[in-house]
């Protein structure tokens, strides 16, 4: 690690990002204040949709925030930050350029001549260990090698702020692990000009393994909920108690965002107050989680163990846990997942009994109460998809409304609360109910 300096490199002051206008306005990031100092490796961690990637784009100047300021070395940022660079999740290599050309193109943009650019590109390719592949095209390379090209290209511009946007999440487990070590080596080696690293991640272990400080975000709206320092020397031992303790702590922060019952269910769409978003969880996966949780004897941190056994990443697991909580199948205590008696009953029930349990729980949710009332009140007790969507749109931005309706459709169909005709795009009640 480089010597700690406390001079701030990047400062975010009251950064807010909104999309859309008027009633359909949607807040992606709300009032974020953050300082990244020289010599720091900061990880931005949070569930998908919490705006962590958007925040990274605001920090690099690719996006302009709706409100608030970004300062770089004390100066207000206006446009793309020339001292920052990004390593992209999907690599963002130009498929029609060779490895060498992909790196050289970044140098050409900075005014290097053709020959200088080529020379420097070859050095950088050598640095990341890709010598011999200069003339290969990205499509000939494995994911891990592609990301190495992405790293070489990012280093080419001699950045002060290196931004990594989920750089390892598109790679297989082994390549990801190797690359993590190599990036750390580049960073702790100190031979480069890089003053700070900012990494977006949804993998808790990865963040604890690499960063000096973890900034935890949550969604609706995207905001910072906690900052967890990681004061462990490199190289870090994942098996150590200190490491596990920090991982547990971050899990607890992320999964333990539970609120009192009254807020938890929210209000019905169209009424005053916030409507609770349905988490994007499939019924099959939820049942899988409950079965696994019911059958598992815990040896270590329950959520970490569950995540391992189910082979899910955090982005997939968190919505499932949220759904289990929302439906009263489980609760989170001190970062542990505990099944309720109802959850245990569900895990052990037959297919038919499961549906009944599920249906009884759904009827308690304001979202479904509203939906069922809407359908029951319509002619022939059937309602077009678009009608419900339009009714939802004052509540959510259009894509979110559509997604919510999709989730409701899957849950409600499973519970046999209503049926849906895909050809006509119509919801209708399974068993006609007398209108109130």
């Amino acid at each position: 690690m480089q010597q700690k300096q406390t001079r701030p490199l990047v400062e975010l002051l009251g950064v807010t990002q909104r999309y859309g206008r008027g009633e359909r306005q949607f807040t992606a990031i709300q009032d974020v204040n953050l300082v990244i100092s020289e010599g720091e490796f900061v990880a931005l961690l949070g569930p998908s949709g919490c705006g962590k990637s958007t925040l990274l784009r605001i920090i690099t100047g690719l996006n302009r925030p709706t409100e608030g300021l970004v300062r770089y070395r004390g100066k207000t940022l206006n446009g793309v930050n020339p001292y920052a660079t990004i390593v992209f999740q999907t690599f963002a290599l130009f498929p029609w350029l060779t490895v060498e050309e992909n790196v050289a193109v970044a140098l050409r943009a900075r005014g290097f001549s053709r020959d200088e650019a080529r020379k420097r590109a070859v050095e950088l390719i050598d640095l990341v260990g890709l010598d011999g592949f200069e003339q290969a095209y990205p499509r000939e390379l494995s994911g891990g090698m592609r990301q190495k090209v992405g790293i070489a290209r990012a280093l080419a511009v001699d950045p002060e702020l290196l931004c990594l946007d989920e750089p390892f999440s598109a790679l297989d487990v082994l390549s990801a692990e190797t690359l993590r070590g190599e990036v750390l080596e580049l960073w702790t080696g100190g031979s480069l000009k890089i003053r700070a690293v900012l990494m977006v991640s949804h993998n808790i272990e990865e963040a604890v393994f690499m960063a000096d400080r973890i900034v935890v975000m949550d969604k609706n709206p995207g905001r910072i909920i906690a900052e967890v320092p990681v004061n462990l020397p490199h190289p870090r031992d994942r098996k150590s108690d200190a490491f596990a303790a920090i991982v547990s702590r971050v899990y607890a922060v992320l999964a333990g965002q539970t609120q009192p019952e009254a807020i938890e269910y929210g209000t019905e769409p169209g009424q005053n107050g916030q409507t609770r978003l349905l988490p994007p969880a499939s019924v099959t996966a939820l049942a899988g989680l409950l079965e696994q949780a019911n059958a598992t004897e815990y040896e270590r941190d329950p959520i970490v163990q569950l995540q391992d056994e189910l082979g899910l990443d955090l982005d997939q697991l968190l919505p499932l846990i949220e759904a289990a909580e929302l439906l009263g199948f489980a609760r989170i205590e001190n970062g542990n997942l505990i099944l309720t008696p109802l959850g245990e009953a569900f895990a052990e029930a037959s297919i038919h009994a499961r549906k009944e349990i599920f249906a009884s729980r759904l009827r308690r949710l304001p979202f479904f109460r509203w939906m069922l009332r809407m359908i029951a009140a319509a002619d022939n007790q059937s309602l077009r998809w678009e009608v419900l969507l339009t009714a939802l749109e004052p509540e959510f931005p259009p894509e979110v409304a559509e997604r919510q309706l999709d989730i409701a459709l899957e849950w409600g169909r499973y519970a046999e609360l209503f049926a849906y005709d895909d050809a006509e795009g119509r919801f209708f009640l399974e068993t006609p109910v007398a209108t109130a």
Binding site: T60, A84, T85, A92, P95, L97
Partner: protein
């Protein structure tokens, strides 16, 4: 004595010129000799509107025709680049330009021919005006789909690639050469090929244009064929058609195929594919020193341009979401408002001069033409669906039929029309049949090629499943083939019906051997009004046709298209 054995690798022998270069040089010399020879032997008569039927004039006519196509194509390409770029990067302009493009491509191009021609011949010498008119006509037939393709590819560039070019501070020129153009190259080449094929149709129409007593024919293959048909000279007709086919095949082999293979390297997906297109010329060129040297020169030129265009990083409105209005934009806005206002005013005045009976006639004619279009579409479906499915699902059949179909499709129907008329004029109601036939011949290929593509894309496992379920005959068609074909059928039919409406102008009204034959139809209305110099009638009929075609597109085809996209998509 011990002599250490060392291994010195041979210095690789690098010949100054490779065998490929030799072939290339020979080809270039041969082509030059051919051109010179043709120019020498050109008969004196090819200069005037008088069309010579001598065979030695044929190569000369072919070159004139190709030249017109090439100039029009170059214009289309320029227009595409500029229009697509503005529409993609300026949100305010996009709101006007894209709907405008949608209307423009529904306009029956042929009906504008006389207006353009008369306008141009008022300000230019007649020979120039006629040439220019042909070029404008071909241009308008080539340009729209290319512009749409370029605009579409600019707006679908993956976000992360855009972000990369922004974060690495690419200048506008660098962004164009490393991101935008490569990303759009494949779509541009495909659409250029389609445009070029469509261009032949209008080239032929433009070359044989006469307006009443005035002869606006242009020396070219189209005029040659028409003159031959007029004279009933079967020998010349065959030779003319052969020349046309040879020219089309040559262009395909020497230009489009290599371009297609070249553009293949710009595919965005990161996986290897084996169903590559192949081109012998491309293989030859890629082994050639001359070509490599040429590539080097282009690279240096790019370096110069890079400096010349400056290193100011380009702002990307897609990322920052900022819109600023410039004075140029305001000027363009004011100018277009004035132009549109003037157009509406003078157009309205023209329309007021059209008597009521003529409006009634126009309405009747639209109905008649619609019937013909529907008929042509049904006839086309009847044969293209079975044949297309056969070619699309059986590789053995495809190997035999595909080349035949491709050559047949490449012959512009307008070239055949004089022959068709010659045959059908003797039959009662002949022009009616000939008109439907022309529409059919001109547009069936769009449907056929789409059916072939759709049929060959039916997933193997679905085909196996229907076999396992022992679905035969009609049941198989009903459950698998027709639903699977639906999206490509709709795509093909949209293009085909548009083309059929357009073709009505040449199909419903024919001047043959100084005699006029016509049938009831909107195309005939337009052509007759043209002939009579009745601009009010011409304008009214064209306007009605545009409205009808746009309305059919919006109300009928777009719905079917949406249905195809949502319900019958293969995923």
């Amino acid at each position: 004595m011990f002599k250490p054995r060392t291994f010195t690798p041979d210095v690789p022998v690098r010949p100054l010129l490779t065998r490929a270069d030799l072939w290339l040089l020979l080809t270039i010399i041969g082509l030059l000799a051919l051109v010179v020879g043709i120019a020498e032997r050109a008969p004196a008569t090819v200069q005037g509107p008088e069309i010579s039927l001598s065979l030695s004039a044929l190569p000369f006519y072919a070159i004139r025709s190709v030249g017109r196509m090439a100039i029009a194509y170059a214009l289309s390409f320029l227009f595409t680049m500029v229009y697509g770029y503005i529409a993609a990067y300026n949100a305010r302009a996009e709101r006007i330009l894209i709907p405008l493009l949608d209307v423009l491509q529904s306009v029956p191009i042929l009906s504008f021919l006389p207006v353009v021609l008369l306008g141009l011949s008022a300000i230019l010498p007649e020979a120039w005006a006629v040439e220019l008119t042909a070029i404008v006509l071909i241009f308008t037939s080539q340009v729209w789909n290319m512009t749409f393709a370029w605009y579409h590819s600019l707006t679908t560039i993956p976000r992360e690639l855009r972000e990369a070019s922004s974060i690495f501070r690419f200048s506008r020129w660098q962004r164009f050469t490393t991101l935008e153009f490569p990303f759009g190259a494949l779509a541009l080449v495909w659409n250029s090929m389609m445009s070029w094929a469509g261009g032949w149709f209008f080239l032929m129409a433009a070359e044989i244009f006469t307006l009443g007593e005035r002869d606006f024919r242009l020396p070219g293959l189209g005029a040659f064929l028409q003159t031959a048909a007029d004279a009933g000279d079967l020998n010349s007709i065959v030779w003319g058609l052969l020349t046309l086919i040879v020219v089309i095949v040559l262009l395909d082999q020497l230009i489009w195929r290599p371009l297609l293979v070249w553009a293949g390297q710009f595919r965005i997906e990161l996986v290897e594919r084996d169903d590559e297109n192949r081109s012998w010329l491309y293989d030859l060129l890629s082994g050639s020193k001359l070509a490599a040297w040429f590539g080097h020169v282009i690279g240096r030129l790019n370096d110069t341009l890079l400096v010349w265009f400056g290193r100011r990083p380009a702002a990307d409105p897609y990322l920052s979401g900022t819109e600023k209005s410039s004075p140029i934009e305001w000027l363009a806005f004011v100018l277009s408002v004035v132009l549109i206002g003037w157009g509406v005013f003078s157009g309205g005045q023209l329309l007021l001069r059209v008597p009521l009976e003529q409006w009634a006639m126009i309405a009747l004619s639209v109905g008649a033409t619609m019937l013909r279009v529907v008929m042509a579409m049904i006839l086309a479906l009847l044969w293209t669906v079975p044949v297309g499915v056969l070619i699309g699902t059986r590789p053995a059949v495809a190997a035999v039929l595909q080349p035949v179909v491709q050559i047949a499709a490449s012959i512009p129907t307008t070239a055949l029309f004089p022959v068709l008329v010659l045959v059908f004029l003797t039959v009662p109601g002949g022009l009616n049949i000939a008109a439907v036939l022309l529409m059919l011949l001109g547009t069936q290929w769009y449907i056929l090629f789409n059916v072939i593509a759709g049929a060959s894309a039916i997933p193997q496992d679905l085909r196996f499943t229907t076999e396992l379920l022992q679905l035969r005959g009609w049941e198989r068609w009903q459950t698998l083939i027709l639903p699977a074909l639906f999206p490509s059928l709709v795509t093909g039919l949209i293009t085909a019906s548009g083309g059929a409406w357009n073709a009505s102008i040449v199909a419903e009204y024919v001047v043959f051997n100084q005699q006029t034959y016509q049938t009831i139809g909107i195309g005939a209305q337009i052509a007759a009004a043209t002939e009579a110099g009745d601009f009010a009638g011409l304008f009214a009929a064209t306007l009605v046709m545009v409205i009808v075609v746009v309305a059919i597109n919006r109300l009928f085809w777009r719905r079917l298209y949406r249905l195809a996209e949502t319900r019958y998509r293969m995923e």
